[in-house]
């Protein structure tokens, strides 16, 4: 094991109007060290003005999302010894920059606000009876730690942000749609206002998910299909029309 590792970190303070650039640092190596260790070493000992956001350092909170060697990842979960000699750390490019490695992710809460909230069936007697099998269907989506790496990697979000809610929020909608006691169908919202049609299933989002949620396979495709079944299936459309007529 080497004693020291070189790491390049993106620095930019938008207030100064200066161009962003990478600055090289050398950091002493410890066994089992992760990228966040190196970055906090710098921010605590070398340059206290380096802006970095982190909380739990246990891959549970999703605060320290960044682009490590051009790949969206959690800094706390990326081991230095697996990266080789050239380590480059940059902020997520899909969100407005606050400073250095910190971005403003608050727009995600605005999107969440638009997704119809959990709406349980009325008149249910509490406590509820739910089968574990039904819990399992929604469980995967509920492990999302809101790191927003899936948003960062999504080329649709990067290039047409306003048109598509993005993978995180499809997961959110799916977690509610598949809640055993929920009564709504959010696929209509996702496919109209949510712009889910823009997603062309490149599966990048599920590749970077630190919780290994199968975002595309289990949420995006399901929500797309549900919308097709409900609103575009010619037979279903015909049946709907007929049943309306007979009423």
């Amino acid at each position: 094991m080497k004693d020291k590792v070189k790491i390049s970190i993106f620095r930019k303070d938008p207030a100064t109007g200066e161009e962003g650039h990478f600055v090289d640092y050398e950091v002493p190596v410890k066994e089992g060290m992760v990228v966040l260790d190196a970055v906090t070493y710098i921010s605590e000992n070398v340059d206290t003005t380096l802006a970095v956001r982190w909380n739990c350092k246990a891959a549970r909170c999703g605060s320290c999302a960044a682009e490590i060697n051009n790949r969206p990842a959690l800094m706390c979960k990326t081991r230095i010894d697996l990266l080789g000699d050239n380590i480059k750390v940059a902020p997520m490019a899909a969100f407005p920059l606050v400073k250095d490695l910190v971005t403003d992710v608050s727009e995600n809460f605005e999107i969440d606000r638009k997704i119809p909230a959990f709406a349980p069936k009325e008149g249910l007697e509490s406590p509820w009876i739910i089968q574990q099998m039904d819990v399992e269907r929604t469980k995967e989506f509920r492990t999302c730690i809101e790191c927003f790496l899936c948003m960062d990697v999504c080329h649709v979000v990067r290039e047409h942000k306003k048109d598509y809610v993005g993978p995180r929020h499809v997961i959110k909608a799916a977690s509610l749609d598949m809640h055993p006691m929920d009564t709504l169908d959010r696929s209509k919202y996702l496919n109209k206002e949510g712009g889910l049609g823009f997603c062309n299933i490149t599966k990048c989002c599920q590749e970077v998910c630190p919780e290994h949620i199968r975002i595309t396979d289990n949420a995006i495709i399901q929500e797309k299909e549900r919308a097709v079944d409900n609103y575009y299936d010619p037979i279903a459309m015909l049946l709907k029309k007929l049943s309306k007529k007979s009423e």
Binding site: D13, A15, K30, E31, G32, M33, V34, D37, S43, E44, N45, T48, T49, L50, A51, V52, R53, W54, N55, C56, K57, A58, A59, R60, C61, G62, S63, K77, V98, K99, D100, V102, D104, V105, S106, F109, D112, R113, A117, F118, P120, S126, P127, W128, I129, I130, Q131, Q132, V135, T138, K139, R142, T143, C144, I145, E146, L176, H179, P180
Partner: protein
């Protein structure tokens, strides 16, 4: 140009973890306007780290369970120091808070009958912890966050409150720095709820996240709020010990709850010696001390831990019941816990002490100031039972939100004077001093403080070490005026470290002074020079700022338990 913007509401809540969010919902449904500020991004609070479950005697798995047993477990394992009224409220109200959380949308694991699943945990007589795999805290945060987002709570995240104000003896406002834009905000409110969590980060080896720097303790203390039982620091028996980068990271008690076994390097299941009946599932203070003794006796691993093994349960079981642990060990340590043993050792996990509050309402001794969650104290006595903190934040979060709402109905909005606000802003700016000669890096002092606390105020304490710790704290305190950083007010972590250091010093001083005062061993507080429990010490130690600005300590005897509750708890035994 104005130096700051004003934000007004009935209630200001500092801290957006489980307690703060539950309080916000309660305040809203009692038609108060609410502003909630947090120093992290919304949804990142330390509550997400809670793993094992929430203790509520719903009796789905063991039908004999009821609130009386939960009450008794809490009192006995808290070594009779708990506020009995808080323990009673918790035991009675926890089940309804769990069912309510389910109605808010939380999805718990289920029994075969489709009821909420419960698991065994240390110190609980019955299988009592309602859970979602080993990610119960995340489920709670996400569920409450959903509620908050769709309701009319003004959430302002990444704001660090630097000072509270008081006029004529009651709360009058707070000033905070917004990290994202470097602007100051003056919060005017009729009531304040402090729900800022613990102070675990004053220790070097801790399971606590970056946030837990005792901010609420420091803020409250400086306006005269009383702190109590600060010596009671919980060491969780099982934290990761290797690799060094993740030392202290929590290994959920759920591992032992689901059948995990502790062994030393000789292969002995040593808990059979220390606790033949409850073994691995004795209370946390007992298991943590046992592991400590094993390591001291030279039966620990090369990384200073012992072994924890769950592999006999099989891969499918482990991956479904403990998915977070499986991933944590695989990705951080390269250990496959379905096949290999884990290496674990004690880690600072929770503060039982904190702001002294009224059991019914969460009110403090300062009018208009309320508190709930880990930063508040009373419920857990000398040792907290696993799962009781998640119950705590919901039960007392709700009660505190309601009480604060009732209070604001007859309270008037006050405000600090312009001069006070300007002075508070000046104090913050004074830490940014590029020209200050020999300005000290706050992070180096923080590191010294954390080293000091871990080596002198650990699981086993003594007068000499505690005095050493105290003089080091005094020394760091005297250097606080010399700390400084460069940069601006925008996302300056160095500046934040300067501000946090002040709060960390108050928390540490209170811990150490209280630990020196309590001359007995009770629960989490073990003194090698006073190894026995003493009836004389059945009292709370109070820390309060004196008129000279120094910390003053006093004691208050516990209130006598009413007869009907006494009947439920086996009497305390002294040697």
């Amino acid at each position: 140009m104005e130096d700051y913007s004003v934000v007004e509401s009935d209630i200001l809540i500092i801290g957006a973890g489980g307690a703060g969010m539950r309080a916000a919902l309660a305040a809203l449904s009692n038609s108060s306007s609410v502003v909630m500020v947090t120093k992290s991004v919304l949804g990142k609070a330390h509550t997400v780290m809670a793993e094992g479950g929430i203790a509520a005697s719903v009796g789905n798995v063991d039908s004999k369970d009821n609130w009386q047993v939960h009450f008794s477990d809490t009192m006995v394992e808290g070594v009779y120091l708990s506020n009995w009224r808080m323990a009673e409220i918790l035991a009675k109200e926890a089940p309804e808070r769990v069912f309510e959380l389910e109605r808010f949308g939380a999805v718990f694991d289920r029994t075969k009958e489709g009821k909420i699943m419960q698991r065994a945990f240390g110190g609980h007589t019955y299988r009592r912890l309602c859970h979602v795999g080993d990610k119960t805290g995340l489920e709670i945060i996400r569920t409450l966050e959903d509620q908050i987002i769709h309701k009319n709570v003004k959430v302002m995240d990444e704001i660090y409150i630097t000072k509270l104000f008081k006029s004529n003896g009651s709360f009058s406002g707070a000033i905070g720095l917004s990290m994202r834009d470097g602007k100051f905000y003056l919060f005017k409110a009729k009531a304040l709820i402090i729900s800022t969590g613990g102070a675990g980060r004053v220790y070097k080896i801790t399971s606590n996240s970056w946030e837990s720097t005792g901010d609420g303790l420091g803020l409250a203390y400086r306006i005269g709020v009383e702190l109590q039982d600060m010596e009671m620091i919980q060491f969780h028996p099982t934290g990761m010990v290797y690799p060094p980068g993740v030392a202290g990271l929590l290994v959920t008690e759920g591992v032992r709850g689901e059948g995990g076994i502790l062994t030393n390097t000789k292969g002995e299941r040593f808990m059979l010696r220390y606790s033949p009946e409850k073994k691995e599932l004795d209370a946390r203070d007992v298991v943590a001390r046992s592991i400590y003794y094993e390591i001291q006796a030279g039966r620990g691993t090369e990384h200073g831990g012992v072994y924890l093994d769950i592999s006999h349960k099989g891969a499918a079981f482990i991956k479904s019941k403990l998915p977070g642990m499986y991933m944590q060990f695989k990705e951080f340590a390269g250990v496959d816990i379905t096949k290999e043993k884990m290496e674990v050792g004690p880690t600072v996990h929770y503060q039982m002490g904190g702001i002294r509050v009224d059991a019914e309402t969460g009110a403090t001794n300062i009018s208009g100031v309320f508190s709930a969650g880990e930063v508040a104290s009373g419920l857990h006595g000398a040792n907290r039972l696993g799962g009781n903190s998640l119950a705590d934040i919901l039960v007392f979060g709700k009660r505190t939100g309601e009480a604060a709402s009732a209070y604001v109905k007859s309270a008037k909005i006050k405000a600090p004077s312009e001069a006070e606000v300007k002075q508070a802003i000046k104090e913050v700016k004074s830490f940014i001093s590029p020209n200050k000669k020999n300005a000290k890096n706050p992070n180096l002092l923080i590191e010294q403080l954390r080293e000091n606390m871990s080596s002198h105020v650990g699981i086993i304490r003594n007068e000499q070490d505690l005095q050493k710790a105290l003089s080091l704290i005094e020394d760091i305190k005297s250097q606080l005026k010399d700390v400084g950083v460069s940069g601006t007010l925008v996302y300056n972590k160095g500046l934040l470290a300067c501000l946090e250091l002040g709060n960390m010093l108050i928390a540490s001083e209170a811990i150490v002074r209280s630990a020196i005062m309590r001359k007995e061993s009770r629960g989490a507080h073990t003194r090698s020079d006073y190894p026995k429990k003493s009836k004389e010490w059945l009292k709370n130690i109070i820390c309060k700022i004196g008129s000279d600005g120094n910390m003053s300590l006093s004691t208050i005897p516990l209130k006598e338990m009413p007869e009907e509750l006494k009947k439920l708890v086996k009497p305390e035994v002294y040697e």
